[in-house]
Symmetry: C2
Subunit: 323 residues, 2 copies
Amino acid sequence: MEKSLVVGIDIGAQSSKLGVVDAQGNILCQTVITSLQPTLTEYIDDLTAAVESLVSQVGGKEKIKGLGIGAPNANYYKGTIECAANLTWGRDSEGNGIYIDFAKIVSERLGLPVAMTNDANAAAIGEMTYGAARGMKNFIMITLGTGVGSGIVIDGKVVYGHDGFAGELGHTISIRDGRQCSCGLKGCLEAYTSAIGVARTAVEWLQKDDTPSLLREVPTDKISSKDVYDAAKKGDKLALEIFDFTANLLGEAFANFIAFSAPEAIILFGGLARSREFIEKPIIESMNKNVVSIWKDKVKVEFSQLKDSDAAILGASALGWEL
Amino acid sequence: MEKSLVVGIDIGAQSSKLGVVDAQGNILCQTVITSLQPTLTEYIDDLTAAVESLVSQVGGKEKIKGLGIGAPNANYYKGTIECAANLTWGRDSEGNGIYIDFAKIVSERLGLPVAMTNDANAAAIGEMTYGAARGMKNFIMITLGTGVGSGIVIDGKVVYGHDGFAGELGHTISIRDGRQCSCGLKGCLEAYTSAIGVARTAVEWLQKDDTPSLLREVPTDKISSKDVYDAAKKGDKLALEIFDFTANLLGEAFANFIAFSAPEAIILFGGLARSREFIEKPIIESMNKNVVSIWKDKVKVEFSQLKDSDAAILGASALGWEL
């Protein structure tokens, strides 16, 4: 029987999304399980049961080419999840992240080949397989979510680097000695341009002076990037300036990334990419202002074409075709 | 007859170095011609005559697999030299750089295949073929000369990107709104960490206050990075601080580069790399202080193993093996 389907699994800190996908990128069936199991054993039990249930709906394991998994701190070369302290079952009793031979465990339980990588790389492969990057050989995927992730594609292949962890562009430095980042460094791109970063900017700016803003109606400790978006939609000047500031830093960072790999396009994905109407123009302006002249006005900035609800599964599933 | 030799040509703004190289990296014979010809025709006449003379010394064209050329603004995909305004024959009467179908012209004149790339990429290939990067699949070559160039190797291949110009790491921004760079941008890595950048730092710091320094014995408009090196050798505090400052910026930049491609090593080459005794330690400290924790103390900083006098020819020649 032809192995014409793949399973995509996106493991997030809260929940894991699973789906069976065909070669055209149609999700034939899907489900969601909690990621918040206390132990790895319980999580693996849940996960493999959910996969088996989905697979039986599409005609059984014989149809499945493989499983692609996107997970935090996943190592493509080794199939491990390494030190993912944000997963309940990814840390020891003292809260330190541990090494988990995840692909091997799942593969043995299901009797199917498994490939895994981090979520941003999975998104890049998804975009290349089914989305905005079809036909592109050189592009950079930037995921603007709670954090800022990246998947770099050169010559049609995701860059994994010497150790399997390449593409941590959210932790390049945007502002020297700037804001503390969760990674331990200061001034990272992520500390400013993630959803959390945008909210931090809002709080900082509101506390700086008395500029009137719709954002003052939200309790300071509750402000989210969605509030900034809603205020900007209503024409709030401060909210619009926050997006300008954020977009400007993204454009500067993109200029540096271009000098590295000379991509055809930079593709944005994730929650903050939905603020496209406020960030697209200033990102492009800032990028072209800061880039070496040979690339001025030559590199495209695009937004993901994958539906948000499907993208995580599609991205991970695309990895299954490589097995 | 076995084609067991390659010709390496390094085209600099002042002079061009040529040599015939065997598979072990021995330069069998070499010569130098001026690059300062007024027209392209005259330069090509000189260059092809020099190649033919060398080739006849080693037994004729039948032994030559191909020519590898390293040149400013060379495009690997197209074999062109594009807008190299620093070459006398690379610009029009108004001083603007022009497009030259260089590889095709030379190949037709000599009846041999020709590949070309920029000098930093050539250095990376040379290092991978004959030098410090033998056996490495993922590394970044940084050339610290008059300018700062880079050659990025991922999965054993030089990164050329969408347009053939990838790897302009000298023009990533080190200091926002900093020093004017010759490329038109401000605050580029090259503006601080090239030989010229080091001299500019010296002049700036000498003019800032009256700190005593051996560098005050050199007329300000004549100060070179060599003077800073000589002063540092004598223990001059200001000169040592200049190297610390330079190395610190390099380390910060390297931390960002690592987040991109997760290389096994960063390899330094060029005039300023000869100041190893003053820059190695602070580069490594700064790099490890600024890099994401997964790479702390894991990425090697190495110095080229190729002899300076040979490296340019060897680097370019290595490209000839790919033909």
